[in-house]
Symmetry: C2
Subunit: 364 residues, 2 copies
Amino acid sequence: MANPSLLILPGDGIGPEVMAEVRRAIDWFGAKRGLVFDVSEDLVGGCAYDAHGTPLTDETMAKAQEVDAVLLGAVGGPKYDKLDFSVKPERGLLRLRKEMDLFSNLRPAQCFDALADFSSLKREVVAGLDIMIIRELTSGVYFGEPRGIHKEGNERVGINTQRYTESEIARVARSAFELARKRSNKVCSMEKANVMESGILWRDVVQEVHDAEYPDVELSHMYADAGAMQLTRWPKQFDVIVTDNLFGDLLSDLAAMLTGSLGMLPSASLGLPMANGRPKALYEPVHGSAPDIAGQGKANPIACILSFAMALRYSFDEGANADLLEGAVQTVLADGVRTADLMGPDGGTPVSTTEMGDAILAAL
Amino acid sequence: MANPSLLILPGDGIGPEVMAEVRRAIDWFGAKRGLVFDVSEDLVGGCAYDAHGTPLTDETMAKAQEVDAVLLGAVGGPKYDKLDFSVKPERGLLRLRKEMDLFSNLRPAQCFDALADFSSLKREVVAGLDIMIIRELTSGVYFGEPRGIHKEGNERVGINTQRYTESEIARVARSAFELARKRSNKVCSMEKANVMESGILWRDVVQEVHDAEYPDVELSHMYADAGAMQLTRWPKQFDVIVTDNLFGDLLSDLAAMLTGSLGMLPSASLGLPMANGRPKALYEPVHGSAPDIAGQGKANPIACILSFAMALRYSFDEGANADLLEGAVQTVLADGVRTADLMGPDGGTPVSTTEMGDAILAAL
Ligand SMILES: CC(C)[C@H](C(=O)O)[C@@H](O)C(=O)O
Ligand SMILES: CC(C)[C@H](C(=O)O)[C@@H](O)C(=O)O
């Protein structure tokens, strides 16, 4: 059987630096655990625009469709702020999500014990926090038509469309219920059904899927504004949260920030099963391209390394190897090894991006 | 000259209880400070639906248009959850906002010193916090057309439209810049210009209004997801935040929760000047109708009383009297007088809704 294939898209800013450490981890698993991947690398985002005038070429898109999993670093930077909307770095990422049909975005918000004091929240509120936000990723206001800016009389008008079909809601709801069964069997769905009809449909369909297929899972509904409040007040009341693309964007970033472990958080974006049974999949850190520290060896590679761990788990059914990698990260943190973003109340040994990679390999 | 007029709409849940304390404060200002209001009272929300089959009658709407200011308690409750969208309690509130054209919603997120320990955030992150979120309140996805749920083939599709015109953005931007000039001269505007064209227009128009009319004010832009993060990480970096209706809904609730003083926070919704020069205005607490504790004398009337203080300030130019009322609230808090929601780490004297009203009147 052929080796499983990975497409690596380091992207912009700190993307290439953190991805370099992931490649070392990939190599380690090949050499030491017989887990050999066919790895190819390509451009996405601003760097793709610089090279080809588009944030994602058709060739790269086609490659992404063929591989078993895509690992992405980060896209964007101030250099590209003035670009036309249609060629902004973000469009490359959005095209990947849309054309690979990655409708289920798993964003764990997990507080690493060694880092609980980094949170702006009180230790007791966040210590041990481990929730999972499932964000719908291929529809909603991100992709709805009509959209754009046009003139009416003398003035410009900006339009976007929030649009959800029943089946789009049902499939992401299913992925939330499935995941809940492997965790605490509890899902909270968030929308604004009190002001948006698309929110009413969201609530109804989630409830219907629940009643018909997952009656054993505990389901609750919450308005998204109340959700933002409750996440801030007492996040441990939640386990799995399922919500739409735009609310998911805000709420998952909020949840990530609660943990104080932002540079640590991975994500998985999953689609339908391919012919080989594996889901279409893209893995990326939650953090952005951090252009302010790019190229200085300051970036924390852990979120990107943990994204590879998620790939091991969700694409390759390599739970034990994922545990191994996650365990190595925990060890290194417990040992006080700290990139700049992790230097805080508890002191620790300051290290560069590469040294953090070294430490994790050593712990493996 | 006729007395200034107030329309009181207590609404549902704890609305009537907290509003009863506001009425006592209003009476106090009449008796002791010669500030006499013509006060009328009417129904909004679920109670209006119970009485008239609609959450806001045309008569009440007409009255709201005529008075100098509206004070609202809260709307909604589980009893009304199954009602049709068009007659839900919330529609009464949304109709008031829309028909009075209350485009500028001022939501202070202020941390009361005596309550800083109530926050789930660390004391140093929130103590002394005092920011103002200006939320656009009459447009965006709350009101955009087309909207609704329809069938396409076998499946339901839910649609809402985010729509902003240049002038809608410009006028709320102006109100943010005006307010910033009276505060720290600093505005941060939030949208998702990286994924939504309506966000691009928002960013451009805010910048244009700034450059043409308010070049002295410091203006920055932030994506709303990053805004949610930064509010959580270090809210004191902000002073005035301006954002659209939906982002404003989430971000202002988030900001309110940060302070730990949710039961304390008022809001003002302002429109265009009327013939007498006063803006169309509605004042309401940020908290909801809290049906779980309604009718038990447990509710905290302070947010509603401080909403009346905002009315004194923004509708009636009675800054000194507003200061007086706000000062009385501070005194009472410093004295340890506490409704149930305020009973926490620091002990204090537990009081009922009415006793809190008594204490504030005594402090006046
Ligand atoms: C970069 C941007 C387009 C993206 C989004 O808005 O989805 C990001 O914020 C994210 O959450 O992955
Ligand atoms: C009650 C509801 C319609 C309302 C809103 O969504 O605007 C509320 O959440 C608010 O923020 O005032």
